[in-house]
């Protein structure tokens, strides 16, 4: 049973580790942004000037410490490429990424739960096998293939041509729906296979527990069992999984969708920052993700232990 202090230290160490590794990777070894910022015909003096402005000529430790202090005080600076304040970039892009990914995430999971429940309920029958087969198939199709195929089928004259190819000009409910549909569909299709399998495994696991088996032997109806007991007990792993997935899905998962569909969310912004070496943005995104992740682990740990005292 770890004390709160121990956990805090653990969390802090984690944040330090994440920031150190990402700092090393993205800042120390990352792309040198100098050369995108100089004009044609730059002189060596100009190049040195820009490097100085970007802070490249300072020693590693100094830059790392500056990074940490900036993170702690939330003084995140401004993007090197566009000059915009990082905080305003985040304020602008986070809501977009959330609005983009959440529907797909939630629907994908709910659908997965429903299918997994159905499969677990009728395990061994043809419907179970069908569902399992479909989910394995789903897991075997690359995200890229789905995105390209959906785009051709739904957004081009070769297909239905109902939705915009890309973009995010959202100013009303209807425009939101037009822009979010194809990405959401792709997200659902990609994650459905994994989700269904996962939920099926959990529900099967739960329904094979002794108390359930006994209740069935006593003639309890399978439906009530499923709903009242299995689902309830499965809530813990389900919630933890949800919580762990959110930051990862929103930031990492959104990267591909946003770059492909041209949606100005945090995934695209961070990817652009990596490729161009725009350090202030990168530092902020990685640092905040780390903190968020640690916080979530905290909370999840807490919930888990609160709900199930066997786990210590």
């Amino acid at each position: 049973m770890r004390s709160i202090v121990q956990q805090l230290i653990h969390g802090l160490l984690l944040i330090l580790g994440v920031t150190l590794i990402s700092f090393l990777l993205m800042v120390w070894f990352g792309p040198d942004q100098t050369y995108t910022l100089i004009g044609k015909n730059a002189t060596a003096a100009q190049i040195a000037e820009v490097r100085h402005q970007l802070g490249y000529d300072q020693p590693f430790v100094r830059r790392y410490v500056d990074y940490l202090t900036g993170l702690a005080t939330l003084d995140l600076g401004a993007s090197n490429s566009s000059g915009e304040q990082v905080t305003s970039i985040l304020k602008r892009t986070l809501p977009i990424s959330l609005a983009l990914m959440l529907p797909g995430f939630i629907i994908g999971n709910l659908l997965g739960m429903a299918l997994g429940l159905l499969a677990a309920f009728r395990r061994g029958t043809w419907s179970d096998r069908l569902i399992t087969g479909l989910s394995v198939t789903g897991m075997s199709i690359s995200f890229l293939i789905i995105i390209i195929a959906l785009q051709v089928l739904l957004s081009t004259p070769y297909g239905l041509n109902l939705f915009p190819v890309r973009g995010w000009q959202v100013d009303s409910i209807s425009s939101y729906l037009t822009y979010v549909t194809v990405p959401t569909l792709s997200l659902i299709l990609v994650t459905l296979g994994y989700n269904t399998r996962f939920y099926r495994a959990i529900f099967v696991e739960e329904s094979s527990r002794e108390h359930i088996v006994t209740a069935r032997a006593f003639g309890a109806s399978p439906a009530t069992l499923m709903w009242r007991h299995v689902l309830k007990n499965s809530l813990v792993p389900i919630t933890t999984r949800f919580m762990f997935s959110i930051p990862l899905v929103v930031i990492s998962g959104s990267l591909l969708i946003e770059t492909y569909f041209g949606i100005p969310g945090i995934g695209k912004v961070s990817f652009d920052a990596i490729t161009s070496g725009d350090q202030p943005v990168l530092k902020a995104v990685v640092g905040l993700t780390a903190v968020l992740f640690v916080l979530i682990q905290f909370v999840a740990d807490f919930i888990y232990r609160a709900v199930d005292p066997r786990i210590a």
Binding site: V136, I148, T289
Partner: protein, 305 residues
Amino acid sequence: MIIQRVLEQSVGFLRSDHERGTVRDGTWSRLKQDRTGIIGLFIVTVFFLISLGVLLGFLGQGWSAADGGRWESASSNHWMGTNLLGQDIFQRAIFSTRTAFEIGVIVSLLSTLLGALLGALAGWYNGKPRKTWIDGGVLWLTGVLDSIPFYLFVAAVAYALQGWPWAMHVAMVATFWTATARLVRAEVMRIRSREFVLSARTIGLPAPLILFRHVLPNTLHILFVQATIAFVAAIKTEVILSFLGLGVQDSVSWGLMLAESTQEVLAGHFNNFLAASLMLFLLLLGFNLLADALQDAFDPRQAAL
């Protein structure tokens, strides 16, 4: 990929309550009876033979010859037509099998080995006075690596090691090992208290010997399954990385073919897309079926569910 990993962690946790079989008792017979598993194995073997054929120079050698016209449709000369440069799509798809296997094998082997090693060490020294920092360290490392958004990490590593053909492999191994390590660690902690281990320690056998000759072999079932999962993840990641321009540099891969095809499909040329998608899908399907069959074969209680 991330989702897959969270999945594995969570399910692994659930399974911890059950007794586990090892590779030996009855696994093989169960595997042989699993029809979908056999299909998976068959597919994988076929692809493996193809990649071997490419490696040895029998197949797909004309992948870079630009001798066709632009975007020809399927013909007897070019079975699936040609791409923009006039290169034979079918040959390119076949050659990509070798690329896929090369990445898959290297990444899955290395990440599984690394995960096994670190996981075993962590599990063994967990709770041991003066040495529990090893466990703490490994756990910290896995926590750190899992906290960094996957694609950002891989992209950053690919950038940092730019130009080096192994950059992509390193990036993938660096993240895939954590899943294996966690599972192995849990298993080792469980095995640690089993009788044969206790007796070995009473006799006075040195810890590394016990670990490597007795404990680790009992984790082989985890390793096999993880290796297949890692293979799948590696290939899928390579596709995305190549699409983003961070993957395979010289030679050809399905990811590169798909990247080429994004422009082509909008001009109505689907051959590139279809060839790459089909091959990719079949191989992944084969491996997924195999992974499932392996999991079921190793743990009969799960299979009966």
